[in-house]
């Protein structure tokens, strides 16, 4: 088992006890290992937040990792940090290089231009310098409550936006959903066909078919609809498909058309 796999198993609570003890004793003596473990825990938490854990690992994560208030706070911190990164426009334009994975979509470029202008204004208010990564980074100062911070806070409508989706009808275009950059979560409301099941598995897949978010055994919000809350940070602009599968359908042999498919296009408003 690789070291990365060992650390992952540790945080999922499946590393055998003798190996756990060896690892824990090493952590007390090795600063680098301690940092590596914390980073590994962060990686796992992000996989959870973005729905990339398998069903079994997700259950282990919730039972083991999230049993700790400190670790729950850490997961919430990572979620907030992702939103904050998005809120400030990712990274300053001056720091971008050829490695950046910009998409060629016009909307992304338009957003980049706007973000760049905002960042440029911020940079102009800062002392010159800071090319490249300093080896000894200065402490991160707490933000002031100046006009800029206040304006940023006001620009953050961190709320839940309800999105009512309709099942796909042949040949119709997917629903277009516009989302402000500060929205924290999307409450997706999907009408359910009869007969309504007691629980549903829900996946949100991107255009490439990658599962961006999932949840299991979701109870219907009413006799006619299902609602799930998806962290907005998990869904960048693009095309998505919500796949809803009833528990009885999941357990039985899959039948064509058994799952409900709902498509939508998410558009980010700056």
């Amino acid at each position: 088992m690789s070291r990365a796999a060992r650390l992952r198993a540790y945080f999922l609570g499946v590393l055998p006890e003798p190996e756990r003890e060896v690892l824990e004793e090493e952590v007390l003596a090795e600063k680098d290992l301690h940092e590596e473990m914390q980073a590994s825990a962060d990686d796992l938490a992000r996989e959870y937040l973005y729905g990339r854990l398998s069903g079994a690992d997700r259950a282990r994560f919730e039972a083991h990792f999230l049993a700790s208030p400190r670790r729950r706070a850490r997961v919430a911190f990572l979620r907030d940090l992702a939103q904050a990164v998005e809120g400030v426009g990712g990274v300053p334009a001056a720091a971008t290089g050829p490695a950046r994975l910009w998409t060629a979509r016009p909307l992304a470029w338009a957003a980049a231009l706007l973000i760049g202008l905002v960042v440029l204004l911020v940079l102009l208010r800062r002392p010159a310098g800071a090319p490249g990564l300093a080896h000894q980074e200065p402490p991160v100062p707490a933000p002031t409550a100046g006009p800029e911070a206040t304006a940023a806070a006001r620009a953050l409508p961190t709320r839940t936006q309800t999105v009512r989706l309709a099942p796909d009808a042949g040949g119709t275009a997917p629903t277009s959903v516009s989302v402000d950059s500060g929205v924290a979560a999307l409450r997706l409301r999907v009408p359910l066909p009869e007969p309504v099941q007691p629980g549903y598995d829900v996946q949100v897949r991107d255009a490439a078919g990658t599962v961006r978010w999932r949840s299991g055994d979701v109870a219907p919000a009413s006799a006619a609809a299902l609602e799930v809350e998806v962290p907005a940070a998990a869904l960048p602009a693009g095309d998505y498909e919500v796949v809803v599968q009833g528990a009885t359908q999941r357990d039985a042999s899959p039948a064509p058309g058994a799952a409900l498919h709902v498509r939508f296009t998410l558009v980010r408003r700056p």
């Binding site: 907030d80 490249g132 949840s215």
Partner: protein, 210 residues
């Protein structure tokens, strides 16, 4: 007498809490002497050790892990003040920590406190509908803006929304900065830790409010 045997430690060392014992300056000084050649380095080593112990207890499911870390270090200091030949210090500390762990877990079982069940929906909705949810994000935005551009880029690469245009090819970024992938990851992690400190300070100062 309760005994413990950590790797590098020795058997039959009394590590129980000792009802009538309190941490003395002498015990603490002896521990610090073992951790570093001068006050500054020993103090830093003590704090680092305490943080790692707190993480150890947290990873093992102990409530109030910082208190368990303090209890461990107090007991180690106690043994040192009593003239114990501790030998390999880190191994001894781990042995004491495991003993404290067993005590705390037994106590928790006795308390029969219900384990909270957290689900994806709970995480997603825990604070998304309240004003409390807004303050950390506003604070973090301020913290991010205060960082040099290159550090913002690093944080965005590692902790930005997945699949967004802010995503960065980690290998490409590491190559551009002359770092290994592991070095880049470690640096991003240290920045993340400092952002957490910045966030706490911002929240304590009452900033980030609308």
């Amino acid at each position: 007498m309760m005994g413990v045997k950590g790797a590098g430690g020795r058997a039959d060392i009394d590590v129980t809490s000792g009802a009538n014992w309190t941490l003395t300056g002498e015990g603490l000084q002896q521990l610090l002497d073992r951790l570093g050649p001068d006050d500054a380095s020993a103090g830093a080593a003590y704090e680092a050790l305490r943080e790692r112990l707190a993480d150890f207890f947290d990873w093992r499911g102990v409530r109030l892990p910082e208190a368990a870390a303090d209890a461990t270090l107090d007991r180690v200091a106690r043994r040192l003040s009593l003239g114990a030949d501790v030998g390999h210090l880190r191994g001894f500390i781990y042995g004491v920590a495991r003993h404290v762990l067993q005590e705390r877990l037994r106590a928790q079982i006795r308390e029969q406190q219900a384990v909270e069940t957290w689900t994806a929906s709970a995480i997603a909705s825990s604070s998304s509908s309240s004003a409390e949810r807004e303050r950390p994000v506003a604070c973090l935005m301020g913290c991010l803006r205060a960082l040099p551009a290159a550090q913002q880029e690093l944080i965005a690469a590692y902790y930005g929304p997945e699949g967004s245009p802010y995503g960065v090819d980690h290998r490409g970024l590491a190559a551009r900065l002359g770092l290994t992938a592991g070095g880049l990851r470690a640096r991003a992690h240290r920045l993340r830790v400092r952002l957490e400190g910045c966030l706490q300070q911002c929240l304590r100062n009452g900033e980030g409010d609308r």
